[in-house]
Symmetry: C2
DNA sequence: TTGTGATTTTTGTTGTAACATAATTGCAAT
DNA sequence: ATTGCAATTATGTTACAACAAAAATCACAA
C-alpha cells in the first residue's frame, strides 16, 4: 500500500493486520448491535471514508457480509441492511435448529464440571444484565452462553457456519430490546440445559437449546410481522 | 476499469457480467472436477494471468473460495487446494446429514408426480453413466438428483449452504473414480428415496438420503485414510 | 399534482503500481 | 550431508484512477 500510514493516522484506531478484516469486524459489530436500521444503504466509498481506509478493503468486507447474508442487495449496485423477512427468518431458524441442535448434543458429550461452572456464571450475568436493563450486554452474554456449549463439540466448520447464521438474524435483534427483559428471555431453557449438561443427558441439552431457539423465533417473528406494514415504503 | 476490453480480447472467453464471478465459477468448476491435486498452490497473479484478468477479480474469487472452505491457506500468503482431512470430512458429513436431511424431509412434502418422473430419469442417467464408466457425468447427475429433491423445500438459504458443503468435499471426489462404478454408488438409496417420495413418506425420504450421505462418507473416508501416508510430504 | 424522459450524479468494478512481508533460494559452517 | 542464516524472489494487500452502468435529480407536459 502506498499510504499505509494514512489509514492509521486519519482513523487513529488501534487496529493491526488486514484492513479488510478491520472493516469487516467493524460493520459486523454495528450490525449485531442493531445500530443500522433495515434499509440503510452502505456504499463502498462511504464506508471507506468513514473508517479511513481505501475502497478495496471496504469493498471486500461489504461483499463478504453480502455473501454471508448479513447485508443484501436491493439493486445491482445498492447494498442495504436487510429487512426482517418472515420466510428468511423461518429458514434461518430451521437451519439453526438443525446445526445448533447437532452442536449442542455433540458438545454435551464433552462437558466437564468446569463447563457447568462457566455456564452458571454466564447465566448469572445474563440475569443481572436483564435486571439492569442492559439489553446489549444480555444479548452478548447470551451468545457467549450458546457458543460455550457449541464449542465443546470441537467442530470449527460447524461453529463458523452457526456464527454466520447468528450474523444473519443479528440485525433484527434491535426490535427485541423492549420485550427482552420482561420476558426473561432464555432463562428457563438455559437452566434446563445446564442441568441436563451436568447429568450427561446430551439429548436433553439439545432439546433445551432447540426450545431456546424456538422461543427466540416466536419473538422475532412477532417483531417481523408488526413491521410488515412499514416495509412497503423503504425510506432508506 | 481502464482496460476492460483487454480482458475479453486476451481471454477470448464468452463471459459477461462480473469478472470476479467468471474467475470464481472457473475455479469452482476445476475444483469439483478434481482437476487440481491437493496441495496445489493458487497464487493470485498466476490465476489472473491464466484467465486473462486483473488481480482484483482473481483475488476476490480466491478469497471467496477460501472463505467457503473450498481452498485453504497453508501459510499467511499461500493458498492451496485442501488435503483430504478426516476430521474435516467428518464435520462436513455431520453438517450434510443435518441440513440435507432437513431439506429432503421438507422437500418431500412438496413432491409431485412430475418430481418422481424427473428423479427416475436422472437415476437412469446415473446408471447409464456408471455402465459406461463416465464417472464425471455420473457425479454430475448424482448432484442433480440430490438437489432436485432439496430444491422442493423452497428454502434458498438452505440450498446455498448445502451447495457450499458440496464444494468443500468436491475436491476429494477424484479419489473415488475407480471404485465409483463397481460399487454402484447410491443406486439403492436413490431408488428407496424415489419410492418413499412417491408414497409421501417424508421421513423415509430423509432416511434414504442420509444413508446415501453415509455411504459416500465411508468411501471418502477410506480414500482419506489411504492417503494419510502420502500427506507428510506435500510436494505442491 | 403526477408521470415521463433526459440529464446529472453516484457507485460498483477492474487494472495497476507500490509496499511490506512471507516464501524461497543460496551459501557457508559444522 | 545438514543446519542456520542472509539475500533474493514471490506474493498478498491496499490506494487510486478510469470506466460503465445504475440511481437520483430535474424539467416539462398532461
Amino acid at each position: 500500500m502506498d499510504e499505509s500510514t494514512t489509514a492509521g493516522a486519519s482513523g487513529s484506531e488501534g487496529h493491526q493486520g488486514r484492513l479488510s478484516d478491520y472493516v469487516y469486524e467493524s460493520l459486523k459489530d454495528q450490525l449485531t448491535r442493531g445500530a443500522y436500521s433495515p434499509g440503510k444503504k452502505l456504499p463502498i466509498r462511504t464506508v471507506a471514508e468513514t473508517l479511513g481506509v481505501g475502497s478495496t478493503p471496504a469493498r471486500e468486507a461489504i461483499n463478504r457480509l453480502v455473501f454471508e447474508g448479513a447485508l443484501v442487495m436491493s439493486g445491482p449496485k445498492t447494498v442495504i441492511v436487510p429487512y426482517l423477512d418472515l420466510a428468511g427468518l423461518y429458514e434461518v431458524t430451521q437451519m439453526r435448529l438443525a446445526l445448533e441442535g447437532l452442536a449442542a448434543e455433540k458438545g454435551a458429550a464433552n462437558a466437564t464440571g468446569e463447563t457447568v461452572e462457566t455456564l452458571l456464571k454466564l447465566q448469572e450475568k445474563i440475569s443481572l444484565s436483564l435486571d439492569e436493563k442492559r439489553y446489549r450486554d444480555a444479548l452478548h452474554v447470551n451468545k457467549e452462553f450458546h457458543f460455550t456449549i457449541y464449542r465443546l463439540c470441537g467442530m470449527p466448520h460447524l461453529l463458523s457456519t452457526i456464527e454466520a447464521l447468528w450474523l444473519r438474524v443479528g440485525s433484527s435483534f434491535h426490535d427485541l430490546y423492549p420485550e427482552f427483559a420482561e420476558q426473561r428471555y432464555g432463562v428457563h431453557n438455559h437452566m434446563v440445559a445446564i442441568e441436563a449438561l451436568a447429568e450427561g443427558e446430551a439429548s436433553f441439552v439439545r432439546a433445551a437449546m432447540e426450545n431456546d431457539i424456538r422461543d427466540g423465533y416466536r419473538r422475532l417473528k412477532k417483531a417481523a410481522m408488526s413491521r410488515v406494514g412499514h416495509r412497503a415504503a423503504p425510506s432508506g
